[in-house]
């Protein structure tokens, strides 16, 4: 697959993934740009892979997680409001609840947020997520459990499914 073919057919999905990981358009753009600049320079190798988009998604994930390390960064974590309060806030309950959930997602540690995005947006299993992030499935469940508790999300325990547990991760 050439880079141009990737850009035409696979890039939109990769960009959506970056948007969901970051929850912010500017950050998603930064994330995608930084990764794609690197991917473009190595495309001779990446393009030979069976599914180059998976490799690029993994690069996106790694970049997102590495941003959180040893770097100085300010990240908007909530809705802005005009300093002079000229903008009237929206009090509709649905929007308020959505905004509250967005804000809480924004405050989650990066790995917890990434695990939730991979599980509930990408639909990956804990084993697949563990492989992507580079940890054990138990650690993935630990991240998810803590994140869901912080967000006050009730897990649907399906027949035959063991409840999630917290595993030592530090």
């Amino acid at each position: 697959m050439t880079f141009e073919e990737f850009a035409a057919n696979r890039l939109p999905g990769v960009l959506r993934f970056a948007a969901v990981l970051t929850g912010d358009r500017a950050l998603a753009e930064d994330l995608a740009q930084e990764v794609l600049i690197r991917a473009h320079s190595r495309w001779r190798k990446i393009g030979r892979l069976d599914r180059p988009e998976y490799y690029v998604r993994k690069m996106i994930l790694n970049e997102f997680l590495s941003w959180r390390r040893r770097e100085w960064r300010l990240i908007p974590s909530g809705a802005g409001a005009d300093v002079d309060r000229r903008s009237a806030p929206d009090h509709a309950l649905g929007y308020a609840e959505r905004d509250a959930l967005f804000a809480q997602l924004g405050k989650l540690p990066a790995r917890q947020r990434a695990v939730l995005a991979l599980r509930y947006y990408e639909g990956l299993s804990d084993i697949e997520i563990a492989d992507l992030i580079g940890c054990t499935p138990g650690t993935v469940r630990g991240y998810a459990t803590r994140a869901l508790a912080a967000l006050r999300v009730e897990m649907n325990v399906r027949p035959g499914q063991e409840p999630a547990f917290i595993e030592e991760t530090t």
Binding site: L11, L15, A18, A19, V20, G23, D24, R25, A26, L27, A28, E29, D30, A32, Q33, E34, L36, I37, H40, S41, L65, S66, W67, R68, R69, R70, E71, W72, R73, L74, I75, P76, S77, G78, A79, G80, A81, D82, V83, R98, D99, L101, F102, G106, K107, P109, A110, R111, L116, A117, Y120, Y121, G134, L148, L151, V153, E154, N156, T169, T170
Partner: protein, 324 residues
């Protein structure tokens, strides 16, 4: 209580933050190809001919930056006896303390002074200004600029945040609220919004001071950096049990006369590395004025909405990273 379906819906809703593919691709195609050997650690004065030969090879481009790191990290002592770590620690802390009211920039070595923070090492409750621009496009034009202003949190929160190596966004970061100001030079608009944001890793000189105060460094020796005498330190990175990439090497060079930090270097387990200088400027009226983004005449004020603050900046975004 929310359900998992609420979470799925929230993530689907976040697709509206998807960036424009054309904008991303433009940046990719316009980006100048960087050399993998963008920057090397400065060589120290060797005593043994074997090491001198090794460094000469490095200068000829035959070894990568990582190889030079290894060569210098295990090299012999320099001509001058290295200062003892405890004594150096005291001098470094005093130097950073004396510069706490300065303006701190962290540009690429030799690069323009973009971004910047004032004060360099804020007191709790002190107003902090962090400029996140100007952001210059590949065409050389400035297309964004901005500034975050907030009050430094209480001593307890700050102490916990700055003194913990794990105090990065992965552990939740430091949650702040303040003002985000952004100037959009493409659309000739600006906005100023109350906003909440998360500060990742230690703020400016406070973070450097914490590393030194905690004794998390080893003195490597004396060297010359940009014509000035410097002391090279190896920051002792503690074991990281989180998922990769991890920081695997971190160096700092401090001025051998003033004992202020001069340059930082970080290398990750995935091969990425970043290099940046520390530039302390006196907080004169002229220097403070340069720190503020300028709103040109005729620009109109835009309203605020979620995610519309100034584009966040990192050291790596400001001056790029060298990739291997």
């Amino acid at each position: 209580m929310r359900t998992e379906d609420d979470l799925r819906a929230a993530f689907r809703d976040m697709e509206r933050f998807t960036p424009d593919a054309a904008d991303v691709l433009r940046a990719v195609y316009d980006h100048p190809r960087r050399s993998a050997r963008l920057w090397r650690l400065p060589p120290r004065v060797p005593r043994r001919p074997a090491l001198r030969a090794g460094l000469a090879l490095g200068a000829a481009g035959a070894v990568t930056a990582a190889a030079v790191i290894v060569a210098t990290a295990h090299g012999p002592a320099t001509k001058e006896a290295p200062i003892a770590a405890p004594a150096l620690r005291a001098r470094l802390l005093a130097a950073i303390g004396s510069a706490r009211s300065d303006i701190l920039y962290t540009p690429a070595p030799g690069g323009p002074l973009i971004g910047g923070q004032y004060p360099a090492y804020p007191h709790p409750g002190q107003e902090v200004h962090v400029r996140v621009g100007p952001v210059v496009g590949s065409d050389g034009k400035v297309y964004k600029d901005g500034e975050y202003s907030f009050k430094m949190p209480s001593e307890t929160a700050q102490h916990h945040y700055i003194n913990s190596y794990a105090a990065n966004l992965d552990q939740g970061g430091l949650h702040l609220s303040g003002t985000a100001m952004a100037v959009d030079h493409l659309n000739h608009t600006w906005r100023e919004c109350h906003s909440t944001f998360i500060l990742g890793f230690a703020l400016g000189a406070g973070g450097i001071r914490a590393e030194i105060a905690n004794g998390q460094f080893t003195v490597i020796g004396r060297t010359e950096l940009d014509g000035r005498q410097a002391i090279e330190l190896k920051i002792n990175v503690p074991p990281d049990h989180e998922a990769p990439p991890h920081v695997i090497a971190e160096r700092m060079w401090v001025n051998a006369t003033t004992y202020l930090p001069m340059r930082g270097y970080t290398r990750w387990s995935d091969g990425q590395q970043s290099v940046f200088d520390y530039v302390f400027l006196a907080p004169t009226a002229e220097n403070l004025a340069k720190l503020r983004p300028v709103i040109p005449a005729g620009y109109t004020r835009a309203g605020c909405a979620q995610g519309t603050g100034p584009k966040p900046a990192t050291w790596q975004q400001i001056h790029g990273r060298a990739h291997q």
